[in-house]
Each structure stands twice: as C-alpha cells, then as structure tokens.
C-alpha cells in the first residue's frame, strides 16, 4: 500500500467541525476503514479540535487548525497544529471514570478518550508559538483483504 497524505486548514471555530468531519469521512472511504475505526477516528479528532477551539483559542486569540492525515502501510497518523498559547497536557487532570455520579466532573474526557483509543498520543509545543498533537493508530486489516496468517 502506498503512502497517502492529505491536509486541511480551517478556522479554529466550532463552525469548522462539519468540514473537518467530512474530510475525515472521505479518508475513511478511501482507506476502506471499518465502521468502528471510522467512529474512533472521528471521535478523537473531534476531541482534539474541541480542545483547541475551547481551550486554545478565545475571543482574543483566534487562529487556524491545520490537520494532516496520513496512511503509511497499516499506520494511520493524524497531526493537528494550532497557533494557540502553549498547551501542557500534564495540567489536565485525568477523569475518575469510576467515581460516583455526584463526584463526576465534566473535564478531561477528550484527552482520556484519545489515550484510550489511539496507540500513540504526543503533544508538542512549537516555536515560536503553537502546538502540535500527533495521534497514531495501527489499523485493522480492511474487510476486503485477507487477514494475516
């Protein structure tokens, strides 16, 4: 299988989400992803975008989201870059998914989903500004291909 790289740049606003999801749906079709894989990819990229939009950008600081999707062999890579202030994931507490209802908090689920679903989640602070998030997942074999012996 060849190397396939696609990129999309959109304003870092909630209104851009449908365009991002349509772009991912096109990749899912071209890469012959299973329904479950498609759902997972759409979920983690949405979570990443929402974090940029709500926690990176603001009324005062606006910018773009640059998304790169790459399939190399069986490895899918999604890179999201922004122009937002430095993001430190260690400052985001991991949600306690075993806590009783009254103790549940609403934050941190997005990064938690990314880490549970993807094989690699890497945050980097860019110079002179901005952030890069790299998400990697090894895909299962396409339905049309013979499974590995």
């Amino acid at each position: 299988m060849g190397r396939c790289t696609y990129s999309l740049t959109v304003p870092g606003r909630v209104e851009s989400l449908p365009q991002i999801m349509a772009f991912l749906a096109d990749r899912a079709r071209e890469w012959d992803l299973e329904t479950g894989e498609t759902y997972e990819i759409e979920l983690v990229v949405e979570e990443a975008c929402m974090n940029i939009i709500h926690h990176g950008y603001s009324e005062a600081i606006q910018g773009e989201i640059h998304l790169v999707c790459q399939l190399k062999g069986q490895e899918m890579t999604f890179i999201l870059e922004d122009d937002a202030p430095p993001f430190d994931p260690s400052q985001v507490p991991e949600p306690d998914v075993e806590a009783p209802l009254e103790e549940r908090t609403l934050g941190g689920l997005g990064i938690f989903f990314m880490r549970r679903i993807m094989d690699k989640v890497q945050f980097e602070q860019l110079k002179p500004r901005g952030n890069r998030l790299t998400l990697v997942k090894h895909r299962t074999f396409p339905a049309s291909a013979d499974p590995p012996v």
Binding site: L17, G36, Y39, E42, E47, L106, F113
Partner: protein, 111 residues
C-alpha cells in the same frame, strides 16, 4: 442534528437524529434546560437515530442526569443506543450510571 421532544404525562422524550457533537450539543443542552426550567425532570433520550456522540454530548447528558437526580426529583435515561454510541459511555465509565433501555414504549412504562 434534529431534536424532537414529545411530552407525556410523566415523561418527556427527546429524540435525537444525527450527530451529537461539539456543534450540536449546545442545542440539546438548551432543550434539557427548557424542560427542567418547567419542572420536568423525567427525561428519556431516544438515541435510535443518533449516529455519533462525542465527549461534548456525554458532558451534556452527565450534567443533565446530575441535575435530574438532585433531590430525587427525576432521572435521565437512554433508549436504543447503538453499540458504538454505547461504547463511548463505556469508555467514559458512564454505562453503570445511566439506565439503558431497549425500546421507547417499555422505557416510558418503566419510568
């Protein structure tokens, strides 16, 4: 996403059609707030036509169930969630906190 609310004597049923994500979750949050502002705290969310839910949707439903159960005044229950939608609740550890029903008619009867 389309949101349709049918009000019964004891229960309000909110039927979602499409994607419950960062774009659409605020609309569901507003609809739940409208019901609760009218002292309607028994809410059934029909997910039979909901194709996708992200943490933005999960957060709205988590906030709603906490508000509904406060003072034992009601509950928020889910009906006809697809396996992939339910998997998101499992990931968030919410599968044990929400009541999942299989069909709307019995869910209304059970409320």
């Amino acid at each position: 996403m389309d949101i349709t609310t049918n009000s019964y004597k004891r229960v309000d049923v909110i039927k979602l059609k499409g994607r419950l994500d960062g774009t659409t979750a605020p609309s569901l949050e507003a609809e739940i707030k409208r019901l609760m502002d009218n002292n309607r705290f028994r809410i059934l969310i029909d997910l039979s036509d909901a194709t996708f839910i992200s943490s933005a949707g999960v957060k709205v439903l988590l906030g709603a169930i906490k508000a509904a159960r406060r003072y034992n005044r009601g509950d928020v229950r889910l009906v006809s969630a697809s396996p992939k939608v339910k998997e998101v609740f499992n990931l968030a550890g919410l599968d044990k906190l929400f009541t999942f029903e299989d069909d709307q008619v019995s869910a209304i009867g059970n409320f």
